[in-house]
Symmetry: C2
Subunit: 204 residues, 2 copies
């Protein structure tokens, strides 16, 4: 029988990988469909709001990667213990996603001059500003991004990290030991360790 | 006694208004602190990740407006009936927030030439693309953005709408009757109607 969950995304880790991490961690079997770039113009109009990843299950086509992650986190028990803990998780996940947006603005800028102009403020101001604060949060939270224990915020961050590193051309967490320890911890989790060992090798 | 909730934001509706709507709807008394622009350079470093709005309550300083909205929605019973309904709400809220991001990119572009270049694709492609799909969703959902009933997704959209309209210089929902009916419905809700009548008049 085909798995009950089908992820459709590009042949990348990027925004698909946090979803793959959560399903791997929770032993949720899934079909890992990798869309071919040449087919995307035909597929795009069939996607809700023209975007991927989507997760097909229970007859629905779930879209918005973070909303999908939050749903899966509830199924695999990686949420907070109460509403306030869930706020804390949501806030840091959206903050990491904001940081991704700032990196996107630079990476996807097509005008060479405008891109060069964005470079210095991104690397000298934005990245250190965010990363120092995120590192301090992890240090304070027993090696985690929120509520002092493993949650889907940790899996989301580590899942998307290779993509961020690819876009900035260096290791985002090179100067941040608590985040490095967190990455190692997540990559060693049962389910995720096996997934990382068997996943297709991709550049981002 | 001072209210248990203190919202700190600029003298704008913008990202603060969905939070104000949710508290008004739920009869949560709050202190509506409006930060003066001239003071912001001093205040910014004291804010988590340098941003507003924040909501102070129970000894914490909650940040990230959508995460705050989701927390409040749970308190005032405007969430879904199960995890799948909550995914549906989360997905459309993040989609509206993506649309806001696209409008931001245009509105906050400081380079006049680059701004002009962004104008046509935004107004002729992005806005109609999103709005046609969002309108269809509301039509299908009994006049709501998700799960066929009033949820915090509706309050979030209507709360942020004036800000979006301000940035694009026209009424985003002018051509979309289901969204207009939804706006009217939200603005007539008990609590919100009274809030809108008494709130400070601001340009955005």
């Amino acid at each position: 029988m085909a798995p009950a969950y089908k992820l459709k995304y590009f042949p990348s880790k990027a925004l698909g990988e946090p979803i793959r991490f959560l399903m791997s961690y929770g032993n949720i079997e899934f079909e890992d469909v990798r869309l071919i770039r040449e087919d995307w113009p035909q597929i795009k109009p069939t996607m809700p709001f023209g975007q991927a990843p989507v997760l097909e299950f229970k007859g629905i086509t779930a879209y918005q990667s973070i909303a999908i992650c939050r749903y899966l986190a509830k199924q695999v028990k990686l949420t907070g213990a109460n509403d306030l803990e869930d706020w804390e998780i949501d806030a840091i996940v959206d903050t990491v996603n904001d940081l991704r947006g700032r990196i996107d603005e630079y990476y996807y800028e097509e005008d060479a001059e405008a891109k060069e102009k964005r470079k210095k403020p991104l690397f000298e101001e934005t990245l250190p500003f965010y990363m120092e604060r995120i590192e301090a949060i992890v240090k304070k939270n027993n090696g985690h991004l929120a509520v002092g224990k493993l949650t889907w915020a940790d899996l989301h961050f580590v899942g998307v990290l290779d993509y961020l590193n690819y876009m900035i051309g260096k290791n985002l967490i090179a100067d941040y030991p608590s985040l490095q320890a967190m990455e190692k911890n997540v990559l060693n989790l049962p389910g995720i360790k096996e997934w990382v060992a068997k996943r297709p090798v991709t550049i981002n």
